[in-house]
Symmetry: C2
Subunit: 263 residues, 2 copies
């Protein structure tokens, strides 16, 4: 019996959803609404004391951290294999998934938080802000929420994040040019990790991702979008639009703040 | 043919050295003197463009990041196995090695940088500071070096780091109480990762690590110190004392700055 606690099919949640769908595994889905802070409520903290998604529960064992969950799924349900067979390519896969976890993902996430969560969190009353921040267990996340509940990231911080996204895009394009897939000649967990950042970039950063600069990344993205598992993952619930509507933020999101590299 | 670029046998360097010694693998050792900034010199950057140690080269393939190197070594040279056989315990092992990489290690490292590198870097001339910082490729490392070259971390930042070390110690003690080793009933890469932070704590933070509070951690540490592979790793070159001497910092290091949790 598999249960997954996850949010909408983007970022770290889509990473595990694609892996489950590639392996055609049945699982009980529990949607955690991050915009409403459900990941910090006592019920969820009893499941994952770090207050982050996704969390996998398999036969009573709790596995956290999306990259670790995906290796666990590949070891436990080896068909189809989603890790390269050779140790060198596996190391490449892990170097990339770690880079996505440590740099590429957080940089994209900083920009996402600014545009999606700052409009929500900045409207909290002082009392609500205090209450919400106090129950966030991880210090780095608490600081990130405090930032978007306040003035959000500075133009310099957003510009830095953008530079890191640009670096991630450059690396991805060079790996794809070399081998066709991110960690070798076959689709792997490295591609799934890349997909938790890449889909929005052509729209959000057309100067970084376009047919001239990143032809391989775009053809890879088209191939990814055609995979039945990716389609099935993207068809999972997404409550972001209705939540924004309910919060009175249903119109267009605020216009992007200019960052240094935009000007 | 195996070659390892590494520093003295502590932190991420000792992690890979212990793994190589457990597997009784022959390797060519290249010492990189971090106190002199050799990791940022062009020769080393050609080997590892991120300018961090350790780096493994095996039959022409370059593998970076200590946790990834150790999984690579265990996949390539499976005897003796250093990862648990069960996927659940492997996931525990990876959760711990990731936690050491992301939180426990960096927190201990912040304190180490303050006491070891701030005395060195704060004596650089403005010109030398500029030259040294400009060649550091990773932004987060560049900022860390700029901090220790300036006023170093604030008492609040050191206090935060100390609280994170305390949390790591609590986790380690609870895992050891449960199973005897960090990720289950047998020695694994998780224990090797713990050893890259734990050895200095009884001396540096006797209020956190002592016979009353952390009996399991201390008996685990004694067992670790008796392993032939650990002894062999610790016998590898350590140029820190002679480098400090050469820099005119051979005496006692500056007295610890009081942090909030000390007062």
């Amino acid at each position: 019996m598999l249960e997954l606690y996850h949010a909408e099919p983007v970022a770290n949640s889509v990473k595990v959803l694609i892996c489950l769908k590639e392996k055609q595994l049945e699982f009980v889905s529990h949607y955690v609404n991050l915009l409403l802070g459900e990941q910090h409520e006592p019920g969820y903290l009893a499941i994952n004391p770090n207050g982050i998604v996704p969390t996998l529960i398999h036969d009573g064992n709790t596995i956290t951290e999306s990259s670790i969950i995906n290796e666990y799924l590949d070891e436990t349900f080896p068909t189809p294999p989603l890790r390269p067979a050779s140790p060198v390519e596996r190391a490449r896969m892990r170097t990339w998934t770690k880079y996505v976890d440590d740099y590429f993902g957080p940089a994209a996430s900083r920009i996402g938080w600014h545009f999606l969560l700052h409009p929500i969190a900045s409207r909290w009353t002082a009392q609500e802000r205090e209450r919400r921040l106090s129950r966030i267990p991880m210090q780095d996340r608490r600081e990130k929420w405090a930032t978007v509940a306040g003035r959000s990231f500075s133009p310099e911080q957003l510009s830095e994040a953008r530079a890191q996204v640009a670096e991630g895009v450059r690396r991805m394009e060079s790996f794809l040019q070399r081998d066709g897939w991110i960690a070798g000649g076959a689709f792997s967990l490295a591609d799934i990790a890349g997909y938790c950042v890449a889909p929005g970039l052509a729209r959000l950063a057309p100067d970084l991702v376009n047919e001239q600069t990143t032809p391989k990344l775009l053809s890879w993205l088209r191939a990814m979008n055609e995979r039945p598992a990716v389609r099935a993952a993207l068809a999972m619930p997404n409550k972001v639009p209705e939540t924004l509507q309910a919060l009175g933020l249903g119109g267009t999101l605020p216009a992007p703040v200019k960052t240094r590299s935009d000007t």
